[in-house]
Amino acid sequence: MTLIDQRLQQIFREAFENDTLTLADSLSPEIMPEWDSLGHVKLIMGCEEEFGVKFTIEETVESNSVAQLKSVLASKGVGR
């Protein structure tokens, strides 16, 4: 697992209070009932804190799966 995945997995585990959650690119609100609107804000807040970045409104809205979240983070220089 890459370091960025490791960090992201930890953010997911903390946001959803699930210590056995395994990160996968396919995770999204459709397959995770706990990824509701409050859960989404928790994830964004967790990423902002962990990676020291700030999401725009558009980025917040479009980060609707792990894959998309990673691509937004990559566009901010995280993981490079």
Partner: protein
Amino acid sequence: MNTVSLELGLRLLGEPPYTAAKASELLELVGSRESLCPAADLTRLEHLAGSIASGDARLALDLAARLEPARGDCGGWLRAALLEACGRFEEAAGALRFLREKAAGEERALVMLASARNLIAAGHPDQAWYPLAVACKGSASPRTLRNAARLLAQARKKAEAPFRRRCRIALLSSTTIDFLAPILRAQCFGAGIDAEVYIGPFNQYEQEIRDPDSGLARFRPDVIAIGADWRSLGLRDEEDSPGEAVRAPCARLESLWWESRERLGATVIQFNFEAPPFDALGHLSAALPGGRGHLLREINLALWEAAARTHGVVILDVDQIAARFGKDRWNDPVLWHTAKQYPSAEALPSLGHQLTVLLRAILGLTSKCLALDLDGVLWGGVIGEDGLGGIQLGGGPAGEAFVAFQHYLRSLTRTGALLAVCSKNNYEDAVLPFRQHPEMVLRERDIAVFMANWKPKEENLRAIAAAMSIGLDAMVFVDDNPAERSRVRQNLPEVEVVELPADPAQYIAAVDRLGLFETLAITSEDRQRTASIRENLERKTLESTAGGVDDYLAQLDIQVRLAPFDEVDLPRIVQLINKTNQFNLTTRRRGDAEVRALLAAGAYTQAMRAGDRFGDSGLTGVLIALPEGNGLRVDTWLMSCRVLGRRLEEAMFGALVRYAAENGYTHITGEYVPTAKNSQVADLYARLGCAAAGQEGENRLFRWETGKAFAVPPMIACEDLTQRAGAAV
């Protein structure tokens, strides 16, 4: 390597999996650092350890072993993280133990949190409470606090957590406030409060309070926090009728206070309104009588005035908290537009901290004594070596900072805080500046107990607490020497130790930020407390020279005045009910509304004031008895430690007996509810001549037949105003 930042070094190193050469490079990079790295790097190392261990556990353990021999604090942290990632919790906890006293600030919180986490995983939850509480008190990071709250919830399933108070608190808000809940729980735990938190539905605070079947009503809150934000007031840039724009929202909130208190029996914490940092009208917004900035400030003033007229309502100064935090960061427009989150995520710990500070005050947990070291705290230099002329105090930048700190400390005493000196010095040297230095702000009369000797500080702190008759958990210790602080922390974990920065210019902020001496009201007893403790010490001197105890008491010229509760005394009475531990027969904590309810139910009440030839101790005794069948049952009986050992309890009991007889009650029922602190009154009723009357669970009951006569000690002059029926509230 040492010149490269750890972050850059780790980036250059690349990601695991590591070859043997890369692993050695990592050891070199981390192990060459003597002190702990910043919090962000600590988190980075944790992730790195997790990544290494998940790929190659053997390499992780090998690295941990190679980090063992004194590889600096940073190496110790990485070692602990590697061990934890490999499931070696016991060893990880051991590695962290060495780091606990070394770090400060956010890094310290992370070390304490990791320590607690590993102790819990290793099966020692009882040892985890202390580091977990320190993490909760010291962190300003939302993430660390959230994780602490989770850990607390997990640990509570395995062991009983130490709490001083319980509180059911409801957070009602016009904005998304959900994320404050875990942070507040963690911060409350740090303050000894077991907070059960209820979050009301978004922007329905009014319905929640008014609807008798709401979730709020079912939650049965002790405290309701009403957090309406400035936007919810709907003020336009400039209002045509400013008076009405102020009156209407205040009247609406006041009516919610009334419902909260009268119908729900809760204390109210009302958030005031932030004057936002952005306004199209600029400075004019505050200058125009109808401008939004102007109105928000007027509304805030009106709320304070209304709260001062209303019992059981406290204002949380959100505008000030936001300003202190920085209003630009307090507001996060992205989170506002996407989730109606206000204030910003990073601001939540500041808000939660100040809320906790008020809760501490409401629950009677306000600290009582600040014990001060002298050299390096009240002045610069060492009085024993530099002499009166050599210490830094006034007359220059560094000296000015010490003078300012002394001014702050003296102002603290106005709230009822007591100052003590706890210094390793010859007494003659230590008092010299207090008596002779022209720039000293604090004088001997400002210091309730003065301990300057060469004994260990923990011994002196115990002696100070005993002289003041307060618990160690009401003491705060200020010392510029980290070794002394660490020693006190280890020997007296109950004592709050201030993490004093190296620069005296920062002393005031370091003490003030903690909010340990926050009080809801300043009573006249508070203002006189230092004098009262000093008199008590003089009394003790007299005690050792006089013959028998009664001879001593006779010399004191004790006067007692017993009166029914009245409006003026009620704040002090509620304060005593919530903080008295030792002479307290039932230790039933009650708020203002609950005491009023007892009065309405026909309670017989005594508020006792005592004085003697050394001074006036003020309102220091409380008794509440309720009719029960043909008799009276003593529901609450307590006395402040300051007046114990003077047979005042006999004066109070005598008045109760007389009231019972003259109002046709056949007997008095007394009750003793044992707690960790009130064993001194276990046999009080027996000593007074009551007969044992069985048990109710742990509680012991006693009975006094009204026909029996009771003699009040002749050396006490007692004025009894309680015989007329009914209290004056």
